[in-house]
Symmetry: C2
Subunit: 148 residues, 2 copies
DNA sequence: TATTGTTATACTCTATAACTATA
DNA sequence: TATAGTTATAGAGTATAACAATA
């Protein structure tokens, strides 16, 4: 609780990350996928089919919110809903081939954007960035034990 | 154009940044400021008062979109509108003391969040991250010549 | 009765189109 | 007529509350 003092380093890292985010925000719609659609499709791709509630929990959406998102994905042909054979109440959601293609396109578009910037960096800065990737990854994976 | 091949490094950097963004997204509402409100207020703070169109252009919003955003900021007491003395059609927007305080609170809240993660890093990773800040900053400032 | 999912409804954010007032 | 800004309206995205179907 009482940890109020902020070091210059903390502020510098915070500012840097904020700026990078603001920049990447402009490339959000590169492949016509909203942030939540991209995230949900990516998860379905890596984890296979999931039930609506499972997906909602992992994506940090409510059940109705996820129902709506899935509806949009279905309309766009990026995901499909199927009844769960083991539980008459449940619905399993699966990403389609078109969905996988879209996610891949989006990732590549962003990587292109980032790649273009990378080539502008000095070799020294490129090395520094590479060396910092584990540190950056730590921000996304709070505690090194739990993942999903 | 033909630059289609993506190196492993580009993909790794892209993935890392995506993950950090997803993580920071959860801290968006820390001080009750939307991303665009935070951005607009920050700009007003650093550049002084601006006209609606200037602010809209710089923030990448349409004029009506900016009018609406300013209206919300005004209702919250974070910004004020005043007629431009030199042009009867124009309106100048200025951030209030409360607005500056809110932006500061938001920044500090995020820095706290980031600071907490920083303390979990090894000294080695902390050094690596510090060394990579110039490289990260480059992503936000495309060409080292133009800024705003 | 508890769980799974949907529908109904509302709120935030932002866009396009149409309008008003000043230059 | 051109420019600055607003109002009117619509759509995306997501929430809470109320409901239906199955366990």
């Amino acid at each position: 609780m009482g940890n109020d003092a902020l070091s210059d380093e903390q502020l510098a890292v915070a500012r840097s990350l904020e700026r990078v985010i603001a920049w990447l925000r402009d490339s959000r719609e590169v492949a016509g996928l909203s942030a939540s659609a991209l995230s949900a499709l990516s998860r379905l791709q890596s984890m296979g089919s999931l039930r609506v509630t499972e997906l909602a929990d992992r994506e940090g959406l409510t059940q109705p919110g996820m129902t709506t998102l899935i509806h949009r994905l279905e309309e766009a042909g990026l995901a499909v809903r199927e009844p769960d054979p083991t539980d008459g109440r449940a619905v399993r959601v699966t990403v389609t081939a078109a969905g996988i293609a879209r996610v891949t396109a989006h990732r590549n578009a962003r990587a292109q954007l980032i790649g273009a910037r990378l080539t502008e960096l000095t070799a020294e800065d490129q090395n520094a960035l590479r060396a910092a990737l584990p540190a950056l990854d730590h921000f996304a994976h709070p505690t090194p034990s739990l993942q999903n």
